[in-house]
Symmetry: C2
Subunit: 125 residues, 2 copies
């Protein structure tokens, strides 16, 4: 999980962008296909400038891009940063699980040894 | 991906807690096993109060807990919120991939039709 400052900063930007329900809803909407600012603003009780502010945060984090269509300027989901965030989380969980399993088998081993010692002493209850 | 306000708020708290490199490093350290505040502060050029502040953010987000040992008060990773965050990301990526594949096969179909029409007209180049 060691990473340079640049990618650590990038990852912080991704997680910060994800830390808002409106921004997550925008990303979820864009997962279904490109959408203009007007289309994105529709389901929210929010002004277009407020939505545009959220879009700027998402764009800075690399989570969306603006497509070529000059008139509608639809936004597009960029899936790569979601993968990066996901990979960090999975890596952290894998370390945890590996250590959990190690501790678990250590406990199992200790139990078995105890039983074995008791058996040797003829100590049955 | 529909979710109540409570879990949306919870998820925002989790992502916000993850949006800091020191807090992510603390979580990665705790994935290897419980650690006291002193042990956690060691690898960082940071005072214990600064680390304690980060720990409070992590604890509020449900990402760590304080274990029973009254003296050392070691912190423990709680893996469930990492799973929740991961699930949101995976869900978003799955929607995107499904739509990407649909678009892709639509384009394939259009290409095949075009070829077929050309063949009928005997238009080979």
């Amino acid at each position: 999980m060691a990473m340079g400052n640049a990618s650590a900063e990038r990852l912080s930007g991704i997680f910060a962008a994800l830390a808002d329900p409106t921004r997550r809803a925008i990303l979820a909407r864009l997962a279904f296909g490109d959408a203009s600012v007007t289309e994105l603003a529709e389901p929210f009780a929010m002004s277009q400038p407020a939505i545009s502010k959220h879009l700027k945060v998402l764009e800075r984090a690399g989570l969306i891009s603006t497509t070529q269509d000059a008139q509608r300027r639809p936004r597009r989901l960029v899936v790569q940063p979601l993968t990066e965030a996901s990979e960090w989380l999975d890596h952290c969980r894998q370390i945890w699980e590996a250590n959990f399993q190690r501790l678990d088998s250590l406990l199992e081993e200790m139990k078995t040894r105890k039983k074995h010692t008791r058996k040797k002493r003829g100590d049955y209850r």
